[in-house]
Amino acid sequence: MTTVVATPETKAGKAPKAQASDRAVGENRLGLKLVAPAVVLMLIVTAYPMLQALYLSLFRYRLTTADEREFIGLGNYITALSDSLFWQDLLNTLIIMVVTVAVELVIGFAFAMVMHRIIFARGIMRTSILIPYGIITVVSAFAWQFAFSLNNGFVNGWLPFVADDFNWFGGHWSAMFAIMASEIWKTTPFMSLLLLAGLSQVSEDMLEAAKVDGATWWQRLWKVILPNMRAAIMVAVLFRALDAFRIFDNIFVMTKGAEGTESSSFLTYRQVIEQFQLGMGSALSVLLFLMVLILAFGIVKLFKVDLAQARGEG
């Protein structure tokens, strides 16, 4: 979230300095004053737990043996970073993130086109596309677990190339598939909603001009529509990628991390909540936070997303 706030501010601060009018300076000051209470509040609410986690991560500290708390410096970080489980879980997380975001981008774009172009039953169509996003993730995860379950599921019966007694949660890749299917089903509407906003920004005039020039549908998509909604696509990818990187609910409900389907957040959860390892858990959550930060920074830099423009300020 911090990057979202920071980017427009630095941009606005640098460029207009040379010819800033009194009015612009005044507006800028007013803006800072208006945003200040929110920033202070956020610092109070988020900075304290973050600093506390940073502090705790330097200890070997188990909730049920609180007397044996021991300062070990960066020991927890060294243990975590030199452990293959940490990297295995990170790899899982990245696979889930890349695959789900890629698939969601394609399906979400198709849905956005439908929502944008549809003429009859527009409300019903838009609502029905958005329904999965309105369902609580834990509920949808249970629904998908039951669907894939061997005992009471229907997926095996529906898919012709799958044996009736195939255990989806009995292998790494099939379990990952089930988890990702649930994740994609649940969050594609969010993606399509963001893309719909971008789609509606593409000027009809340009599309008509391209049509008159004899551009095919495919050319119009690739040469006119997509370049003009680049900012919206990148914002959608950024939000979803950060979201997918923190995947937890689906894994918790569907496999509880069995068959090597654990994600980085699930690993952190297990250390803190299941094993009461407050020190190690805090170290992992600090690492998780840093990774999310790097990821956000990387995506913003790599795709040169101008968030101010995406919000219609630019």
Binding site: T64, A80, L150, F166, G170, M280
Partner: protein, 433 residues
């Protein structure tokens, strides 16, 4: 986009919260008043129970007196989730917990952390006298009885009489895992076990290793310095049984995600043949499938090694009193009533979770519900049962075993060694679990 759509409705929205707020205010006031009432009148003892078919609620009502009322609060289904919820609350000093139903493997952890109020000597003596030896052992930490044994469960080998008659295996003498796996796989039957990545899988592994004469750890009292003994000939024999089953046609298709419930379902289906499961499964099919109910046979838990007496799993519940409770004396009185032989009998009648004392088995209605030979088998099995090691680090050991032994199809002769190294590293804090 959302803004123009919602703003015309804002007027309605502003009015509607008022009755809601009013109702919420009244509810809060109501509960504050109720709280005051509690302080001045009879105290309410809150008993956190594991979900069951109403046995604990029934004895809570029975044991409520003029001096106190016992109320139940239901914990999550999963034993490890029960532990998490209780431990978090206890660590935070929650004084709204008075009584707790605690699963045996976590008793030592709670006692070691100082979460449990010491049981008065006379009550402890009484409980030790009435309870089975195994139940007392599981409830003891550092030579003190720390929870009151309430029910003691064990597993037996359930089989379908029709299947056994068809294949002609003699169930009157003890059978081995090898035998039942072989018979089931050759005749289109399944052997139901609990092998999902959860505590129940470790229950099975522990029973297999104990049945061969070994153990997961020794010197459990040493806590994190305990000796890990998984990597032993006994561990290898246990691994062989699991690998054999997972690789045979007798393995249910859902083996790697099977728990007590799903294994019960497989047992009730056409391919059901054998099942190891807790005592309550006997009445599982009475309503859902009376044909299966009539077809259930039972015998001692299978042997890991032919000729060596099996060590069935031990489960159960002990009732502990929270050290943070405001009503420790009343809670101890309540414990005495809740764990009386009659209460244990009532609970067993309602839930199928068998009493922790011989006195509990004398409860008349229980004798009507279960055939005498089955009740005798339950008691023999509890006597022979191998409890999981009593250590404050059980949860770590169990998770480490789950990590290395799951899924069952990945188990081979190298598994015991791998798991021993991993458990040692986990106890030393050198690795992520």
């Amino acid at each position: 986009m959302a803004r123009p759509a919602s703003s015309p409705r804002r007027g309605e929205g502003a009015r509607s919260p008022r009755p809601v707020a009013l109702a919420a205010g009244l509810t809060i006031m109501g509960s504050i008043l109720a709280g005051c009432g509690d302080d001045s009148g009879t105290p309410t003892l809150t008993w956190y129970i594991n979900p069951d078919a109403g046995g604990q609620a029934a004895v809570a009502e029975k044991c409520s007196t003029d001096a106190y009322t016992i109320e139940t609060q239901v914990l999550p289904q999963d034993a490890s989730q029960q532990r998490i919820q209780l431990a978090r609350r206890l660590a935070a000093g929650d004084d709204s917990i008075d009584l707790m139903s605690i699963d045996p493997p976590y008793t030592a952890e709670f006692a070691n952390a100082g979460y449990l109020a010491p049981i008065p000597d006379d009550l402890a003596t009484k409980l030790e006298e009435q309870s089975f030896q195994g139940a007392t052992t599981a409830a003891t930490w550092e030579d003190e009885l720390v929870v009151a044994p309430f029910w003691s469960n064990t597993q037996v080998l359930w089989y379908r009489k029709s299947f056994v008659d068809k294949v002609g295996i003699d169930m009157n003498k003890p059978v081995t895992w090898d035998e039942i796996i072989k018979v089931a796989s050759e005749n289109g039957g399944t052997v139901g076990v609990q092998a999902n990545k959860y505590e129940g899988y470790v229950v099975w592994i522990n029973a297999l290793i104990s049945g061969a004469g070994g153990s997961l750890i020794e010197d459990a009292e040493a806590g994190a310095e305990a000796t890990v003994t998984v990597n032993s000939p006994e561990g290898a024999q246990a691994a062989k049984v699991i690998a054999d089953l997972a690789g045979s046609a007798a393995a249910p298709a859902d083996l790697s995600v099977s728990n007590e419930g799903t294994a019960g379902t497989t047992f009730g289906s056409d391919e059901g043949a054998f099942l190891v499961n807790w005592t309550y499964i006997f009445h599982n099919y009475d309503e859902s499938d009376p044909e299966v109910a009539k077809d259930i046979g039972y015998t001692t838990y299978p042997q890991t090694v032919a000729g060596k007496e099996a060590r069935p799993p031990y489960g159960g519940i002990g009732i502990g009193v929270s050290d943070n409770s405001r009503y420790i004396d009343e809670s101890m009185q309540a414990v005495e009533c809740l764990t009386s032989a009659e209460s244990q009998g009532i609970n067993a009648e309602l839930t199928g979770n068998m009493p922790a004392s011989a006195g509990g088995y004398d409860y008349e209605p229980l004798k009507k519900l279960y055939p005498p030979d089955l009740l005798a088998l339950f008691q023999q099995s509890v006597d022979a049962a191998a409890p999981r090691s009593v250590t404050p680090y059980w949860s770590d050991i169990s998770s480490a075993i789950q990590s290395t032994w799951h899924s069952p199809s990945s188990v081979d002769e190298s598994t015991p060694e791998e798991s021993a190294t991993f458990v040692e590293d986990v106890l030393a804090g050198d690795t992520l679990l």
